[in-house]
Symmetry: C2
């Protein structure tokens, strides 16, 4: 079936024209015979490659010195046996590479001896004693980690294949590798036969081994899944994720098809995409080497290379991934998975010199042809700065299930999420946003509630607050209606829907804009939320317009939080701080918010300003006298101190059907604790009002302190770029082309 | 009187032997005729000097372009007229220097025109309309700022003195400078005739002018104070500080005598010392130039140069001053006052090459002989790293009023405060400590409650929470007895007492130790608190032993807080989190603490661990079943959001007379959110117990997880280094020399 995608070989490997070695034999998977020759020739002349090699050598040498330990599996992640087996597979892969590059038998001996120890242990193992997983492994508590093991050890095996005796190879394949591959596939179809980052690892593990040992049956299972799995419809994993959806394509191709949009966005978000990229790309590289006729990198219009680009664009100015869905903050493009992603994307993706500037920051390359080529590019000074511009990434297999947009200007980055549910790691956060400046969070996305691999905190696994807090709608910078979650907080409902792009336009650098709708999160209630990032000479820096139009069949309570970070400077409203604190509510995440203070607007516009990282920020929002202004803090009902005690400013509007929240967020000025000077510490605005709000248009007017009027008008029903609009507001005519007006 | 301190001139200025110009005329104060020649000769060849000059030129040129504004005074700090007059004096001083160095008349014209505008305005001014100060200025709301003005403008005047017509000089001196100097001295004796950082500025302002215009009467007032001041005993300033103490030496010498200890520690702490250093040193430099026979830099055994060394040693690894007393966090040796301090200390203090490494970080020098010499030293690559070692600085005029110690080892810095009250900026924090690692706070000192110069926050002035929270005993990492403040929170009582050093010993790098007593904070209760910073091969990093022995005539409630920063990882005790939060108390700072959770020890030792900046920390402390363990958070009764919502872990022991708190604080391991690896995430201790505690000795035993026993014994009554001790604990004999034992 997959063999149908065969094509002419002569297009491939043209870069290896000179000094060709036999295409047969091993290594062939990631390292190749030709690649090893090229590397040996370059040794000592390419700084980043040499440094990476010597770091690897030092690490493996120390490990060999300590001796081999292959303990009987027992622990969860964080515990000794888990961490030992994890370290073992990482060391095996590295030792294999060192054997090839350095021609020193001690590395081959280390690989052989450890693999033989595994071959002795493996047949004796029952499933792992820890019972937490829906798919328990043998070496680890879950098949996911067993699959990691095989992805790496298949590479090690490939590197020592020719050096091993046939007898040893037979032992390893019969007692270890083949039963191992079968256990994580046929033995665990609920793990292997699904579309999920878990199964990607499973598929790739089996596929890598298949390519090394030239096993067509395993390869076919890897690429298109098990033909028979006997799985019941509606089965879920232990995170509540669906195992299978009727009629899904499975295997590596299925996992490549479905979670990636045509723009390369991965439906679980960048944190899991980063984790998933390594198996996708390493297997793509292996297929490129062993089965170039499959042209895997051209699959779905080159989606794998687009995915690397998307992923880099989903980082802040410091290279940290935006923590959408279950994302742990601090994960960045410095992670090893991104080192190989950048190297592979550079080598196979047209040698984009902007990738070299990221490789240079990473200061590390993979020890293969791709890493060598990157290191040589950096050595030659070819790199250009990676220009992260505004970008809109569609979500969904066909790119029609909402998306994620990032507006960028002068150090400010606004991330807007109007995507689909995002699989089992998705949050109930439709139309939520976050704001960054210079790589620092200004209005944060909370991220997950988990301390990955920190055993003291629930074994390093998801904490119960991930469900009760982090996934909840009120935990996000988006609208909660009547204290309820989007989609009633039900994964099954959320998975059926997605927000819709209304329009995206980054053509005018001075007004970049993104707008989306959500009609299903609360049946009967429709939302249209629009963000513009405006650079206007009458303001010091770009500012954000945030326009949220809500239309409902019923009267509701609307809560719109802003999870600002920093210290409150000043408000234009009065509030009462409570002398005792109670939670803001009983469920849906509200039980985790302390209600610190309650205020009421004293003007038609509410001003809330704060300081963060020695920069000043002001949120100005239109308000009515009946609004409540809530100052809250995360941390109630948190008996294990699992949550961060971060603050929130919540706009509450009760007993209305239709309403519009119109806000401006400014970054302005700075404070230096060294010079003790506060510059430009106040908002530029003297007022903000909605001057028109009907079915067709919403218009706001900003008056600056120097008394200049700025008007922003949104066409609520016609998103066409070409439409000519002509309307009168008060006694003034506004005439423009396209979905918005700003002047 | 002060002229008695005359000596031979020929020792001075030997460095200026070649190419001598006439010692007469102007400039002579900070720049000198010879210095200007030297600078002109070096221009274009000394990078840091040239960069500093060109930055200054760009700044002043832009200011000249904008034109002169000398508004009628009106505002508090942060407001326009305040900031304008402040900027004016800074620009005047710089323009004067540029005129001398660049020989361009436009700078002299700018200085003259602005000074003439002041000469026109000044005679018309009443005292400043803002009434907050005990000593209102004319240009500013307080004489302090008026004095700042004169310190800078006297330098500007000196630079253009010879260029000005005699007629203009007469106008400036008669209408502006002399009345100005008289107003801040004779006109405000309550400001001028005291020992306080305020009056230092006043004294120096008058003295600087006196040197420029050669006025002996003003100079004498500056150096030894007004002979007649008619001040009533017991008068206080608006911060509650005493104006005068009977029999005090006054004027510059008085201010130099009293607040500085022989070690150069300034009694208000480093934040105010940094502020005070500039006038002290700039005037010292001026005296050195104009009246070298006074040998001001040799005064009190060279205390001014020692003070610069003390100040640098009172910074963390990033150069930030420890925020003792009313110190604002973030103030550092990058402040301009420290640029001139470092330059002056280098030039006059034997050209210590370690100072050059700080100058290099500052990347800025003063535009005079001292700055030139520093810039040339850096250019010549003479710098050595500034080695901050452990240091003990005595407090008090004679060095016998307690002190501040800093223990340093492998990136850890423990700051122990056992000083005197610290004048009006002092806190009730006897025997308090703070802990840093790599320049980051681990156990914080709260600092002040003030947003200096941020007008939105109470005009940038001290907030009421400075008194109700920041100064209070419970706000510090020290013992609160019966919920009361040290000295009942009364400045008058606190000012009569100070803690006493028991001993300090940094001779053994593996056990550095400091111990002090406090017998007066709570009459009838005596405390002996000892910190040891121990480097022991059985631990990953140095750890802290914190031993607090309390002896009382009465049964009391003891509260010992640890203001840890970071996220709680794990405890070995059970605690209940409250579903509603109440303040921990009603007054003395307790009203500002939310009582989040209450626990009880489940073992004889309590373990509390947390993560901060991706490092792990564990506090282990001996406990009895009756102890309460309180998890608290700052922020209750804070209606203006003036406080940071930081956490605290409080040990509470009730209804006991004598007790000992024995604790170990470990830094261990690390977490990487990129590799997601947690290394060494647990304490090395498996238990901690007090094995002996009597009048003479306190001994604790630490058992490590690898089952090694470590014993620390403190001699409670004999601090001699030579004393031979021989005691039996259980069936083991301990024999050692000196005040402590560790093995
Ligand atoms: Ca989210
Ligand atoms: Ca960041
Ligand atoms: Ca610091
Ligand atoms: Mg899952
Ligand atoms: Mg989220
Ligand atoms: Mg004061
Ligand atoms: Mg304090």
């Amino acid at each position: 079936m997959f063999l149908a995608i065969v094509s002419c070989k002569d297009k491939v490997n043209t870069s290896r024209a000179n000094e060709v070695v036999s295409g047969q034999g091993h290594p062939k998977l990631i390292l190749t015979k030709q690649g090893v020759l090229d590397i040996k020739k370059a040794l000592g002349t390419v700084p980043i490659f040499d440094a990476s090699l010597s770091a690897t050598k030092a690490e493996v040498d120390a490990e060999i010195e300590e001796g081999i330990d292959v303990p009987v599996p027992k622990d969860l992640s964080g515990g000794y046996t888990h961490e030992r087996h994890k370290r073992n597979f990482l060391m095996l892969q590295k030792a294999g590479v060192l054997f090839q590059i350095l021609d020193n038998d001690k590395y081959a001996i280390y690989v052989r001896d450890m693999l033989m120890a595994y071959a002795k242990l493996y047949p004796t193992l029952p499933v792992h004693p820890q019972t937490r997983s829906y798919a328990r492994g043998k070496l680890f508590w879950q098949c996911l980690n067993d699959s990691n093991w095989l992805v790496y050890t298949a590479q090690a095996y490939d590197c020592v294949y020719e050096w091993l005796s046939e007898k040893d190879r037979n032992i390893l394949e019969n007692d270890l590798f083949i039963p191992f591959a079968k256990f994580i596939s046929e033995g665990n179809p609920q793990f292997f036969n699904r579309v999920h980052n878990h199964s990607t690892w499973g598929n790739v593990a089996v596929g890598m081994l298949a390519l090394v040992i030239d096993n067509d049956e395993l390869l076919e299972n890897a690429l298109i899944g098990l033909k028979v799995d006997n799985l019941k419809a509606g089965m879920k994993d232990n995170d509540g994720g669906l195992i299978q959806v009727e009629g899904q394509k499975l295997g590596f191709y299925g996992n490549l098809d479905e979670p990636f949009s045509p723009d390369g966005y991965y439906n679980e978000g960048p944190y899991y995409q980063r984790y998933a990229m390594y198996p996708f790309l390493i297997f793509a590289q292996a297929l490129q080497n062993v089965k170039p006729e499959l042209k895997v990198l051209e699959y779905k219009d080159g989606v794998l290379l687009k995915a690397v680009n998307a992923l880099i664009n989903l980082t802040d100015a410091n290279g940290n991934f935006f923590p959408l869905n279950d994302g742990q903050k601090g994960m960045s493009y410095y992670t090893d998975a991104l080192v190989s992603a950048v190297d592979i994307a550079y080598y196979y993706g047209g040698k984009n010199p902007e990738l070299l500037s990221i490789a240079k920051k990473q200061n590390k390359v993979v020890l293969d042809d791709t890493g060598l080529s990157v290191a040589m590019g950096v050595k030659a000074g070819l790199e250009l700065p990676f220009q992260k511009k505004s970008i809109n990434l569609s979500d969904g297999k066909n790119g029609d299930e909402g998306g994620v947009g990032v507006l960028r200007s002068h150090g400010l980055e606004l991330v807007y999420k109007y995507a689909s549910q995002g699989s089992s790691h998705g949050h109930y956060d439709k139309l939520s946003f976050s704001l960054y400046e210079n790589g620092n969070e200004v209005i944060q996305d909370y991220g997950l509630s988990r301390f990955v691999n920190i055993e003291q905190k629930g074994g390093g696994n998801y904490l119960k607050e991930n469900k009760t807090w982090a996934k909840q709608t009120i935990a996000h910078n988006t609208l909660s209606v009547n204290g309820q979650n989007h989609f009633k907080g039900k994964f099954e409902i959320g998975s059926k829907h997605h927000s819709e792009l209304y329009f995206y336009n980054d053509e005018q650098p001075n007004v970049q804009i993104i707008s989306a709708t959500e009609d299903n999160a609360y049946p009967g209630t429709k939302m249209l939320r629009t963000f513009a990032l405006v650079k206007d000479g009458d303001f010091e820096k770009p500012f954000v317009i945030d326009l949220l139009k809500v239309k409902s069949l019923t009267k509701n309570q609307y809560d719109l939080p802003y999870y600002y970070l920093g210290h409150i400077m000043k408000t234009n409203f009065e509030y009462n701080s409570f002398s005792q604190l109670k939670p803001l509510g009983k469920n849906n995440g509200y039980q985790h918010l302390w209600n610190e203070a309650l205020g009421k607007p004293t003007e038609d516009y509410t001003v809330f300003s704060w300081k963060n990282n020695n920069l000043f920020y002001t949120l100005t929002t239109t308000s009515s006298k009946a609004d409540q202004l809530i100052l809250a803090r995360i941390g109630a009902n948190d008996p294990e101190y699992n949550l961060r005690k971060d603050p929130s400013f919540i706009l509450r509007r009760k007993d209305v059907k239709n309403t519009t929240f119109a806000s401006v967020i400014e970054s302005h000025g700075s404070y230096s604790p060294v010079s003790e000077l506060a510059l430009n510490a106040y908002s530029h605005l003297s007022s903000l009002k909605i001057i028109l709000d009907n079915e067709d248009y919403t218009a706001i007017e900003l008056i600056t302190k120097s008394n200049k009027s700025k008007v922003f008008i949104l066409s609520n029903k016609d998103n066409s770029k070409d439409k000519n609009h002509n309307i009168k507001i008060g006694d003034k005519n506004y005439n423009w082309i396209g979905a918005y007006y700003y002047r």
